[in-house]
């Protein structure tokens, strides 16, 4: 994508949008890397305790959008407000209220699970956190071996423990089901259901992620294509993909 074309359907036309305190407000949010737009003209309003799914195919811009919303990267254009304020005014204060589970789990490989959680708990201002209870909640034993020895499923559980220990009001989860077997996905889904606060999930595992969310934003080639109830996300995605599939089928 080299420009910022129009959006086919924005949330402004979505009559089912609920009311409540706005936690995330993005207007015309765009991010470019060199000449390429990773995502463009995203309008999004997320209210307290809502669960949003950002879905789309690989390369659709959903991870970059999630990272921009989580202040991990800055947008190139547009306006972002978190908890009613521009996060750039007090970045540390905004970040103290959110947590991002990234595609990379973000741990020190040579430290134990407890060590890693202790680092985060203290930085988040919760030095008194009961780390044993948090590890127990995500189904991890308090073991002495380093994170380097953990399986992908254990890493995902620990990443969710890291989110829990920070006690955030706003949680961003990037591909929480990636590289997990079906049993692992079920376990992670149960943990995500148990998270408190506002949750925004970016995933291409549409049916599984939609079951955890109330509302959805469909991204396609860096543009927001549809916003609506999460249970309709799969149908919306198929509708967006259909012209592409037809074009591919008709190609010589």
């Amino acid at each position: 994508m080299s420009g910022t074309p129009a959006i086919s359907r924005s949330e402004a036309g979505d009559a089912s949008a609920p009311s409540g305190e706005v936690v995330v407000e993005a207007r015309g949010l765009s991010r470019r890397f060199g000449k390429r737009w990773a995502f463009a003209r995203v309008d999004l309003t997320v209210r307290r305790s809502e669960r949003w799914l950002i879905l789309g195919a690989n390369g659709s811009g959903k991870t970059t959008l999630l990272r921009a919303l989580a202040t991990a990267i800055s947008p190139s254009l547009g306006r972002l407000r978190l908890f009613g304020q521009d996060p750039r005014e007090d970045l540390a204060a905004a970040r103290r209220r959110l947590a991002l589970l990234s595609h990379r789990t973000g741990f020190y490989e040579d430290l134990t699970a407890r060590d890693n959680l202790r680092v985060l708990a203290r930085l988040a201002g919760h030095p008194d956190a009961d780390l044993g209870a948090v590890l127990d909640r995500v189904g991890l034993e308090d073991r002495p071996d380093p994170v380097r020895a953990f399986s992908m499923g254990m890493r995902k559980r620990l990443a969710l423990a890291a989110v829990i220990v920070q006690r955030p009001e706003l949680v961003f989860l990037d591909e929480p089901f990636a590289a997990l077997d079906p049993a692992g996905m079920e376990d992670v889904a149960a943990l995500v259901r148990g998270l408190e606060g506002t949750v925004i999930v970016a995933s291409h595992q549409v049916e599984r992620a939609a079951a955890l969310c109330d509302r959805a934003l469909l991204m396609d080639a860096g543009l927001p294509r549809w916003t609506g109830p999460a249970h309709q996300a799969w149908m919306a995605w198929k509708a967006v993909q259909a012209p592409l599939a037809a074009a591919a089928g008709g190609a010589p």
């Binding site: 991990a72 970045l91 540390a92 973000g106 985060l120 203290r122 930085l123």
Partner: protein, 229 residues
């Protein structure tokens, strides 16, 4: 302050849990000293005269491996992003990391100095000008380690995500630390000489301290911009 101490403790804990790296690094530093002694030849007088230079060359070359690793553990699994979003202050992250690197370099020097003593026939003991030479050497090592650690930490952060980081780090670091290295070598050479000029030693030590203050101030300011990129 507690966040700084917490991050400092974390950095040291990581190194302690992966202490095989530290052991390998000490072996590398000792091997360099051994190779330098072979290169100079059997003349103990010449070896003793240049012992300070070889000690600091050994520490400088070893420091590039130590410094590069100190940020490799941060970017390996994206831990640094977790810290930034936690949120940890970039300034405190820098000072904690630089302090941990300086401590490790000082420990490395503590391992290398006895080897210099044994291989190069250096005499460190004796009262000269009211100051114990070993104490003076400790002060040079502490200031020299600090002088390498601050810019090294900044450049390690800058190059950590680059493919050619192993080459770029020394290329960027070495020219910058020349004044610090020069002062440390001169001060160390004066200590290992039979007669020590106290005034000359103090002036080199003061120069070393001045560059430390400069490095730690400027690098602390620049680090936030490097990290947020």
């Amino acid at each position: 302050m507690s966040e700084l101490l917490h991050l400092f403790r974390k950095d040291l804990l990581i190194e302690w849990r992966s202490r095989s790296h530290g052991f390998a690094l000490a072996c590398f530093a000792l091997t360099l000293l051994l190779l330098f002694s072979f290169a100079i030849g059997p003349d103990t007088k010449t070896m003793s005269l240049h012992a300070g230079a070889y000690l600091w060359m050994s520490l400088l070359l070893s420091s590039t491996l130590l410094l590069a690793r100190s940020f490799q553990v941060e970017v390996e699994d994206g831990a640094i992003e977790t810290l930034i979003l936690a949120p940890a202050s970039a300034t405190r992250m820098f000072y904690a990391k630089a302090l941990a690197n300086a401590v490790q370099l000082a420990i490395l020097a503590a391992v290398a100095v006895p080897a210099v003593y044994a291989l190069y026939g250096v005499q460190l003991h004796g009262e000269v000008g009211g100051g114990h030479r070993l104490g003076q050497l400790v002060s040079v090592v502490a200031l020299g380690a600090a002088g390498l650690a601050a810019p090294g930490t900044l450049y390690a952060a800058l190059t950590a995500r680059l493919h050619a980081r192993q080459l770029l780090l020394p290329l960027l670091l070495f020219p910058l630390v020349v004044p610090c290295l020069l002062a440390a070598v001169k001060a160390t050479t004066l200590i290992v000489r039979p007669s020590l000029s106290e005034a000359e030693f103090t002036s080199w030590l003061a120069l070393l301290a001045c560059f430390d203050v400069l490095y730690w101030s400027v690098c602390g300011i620049l680090f936030g911009r490097v990290i947020e990129q």
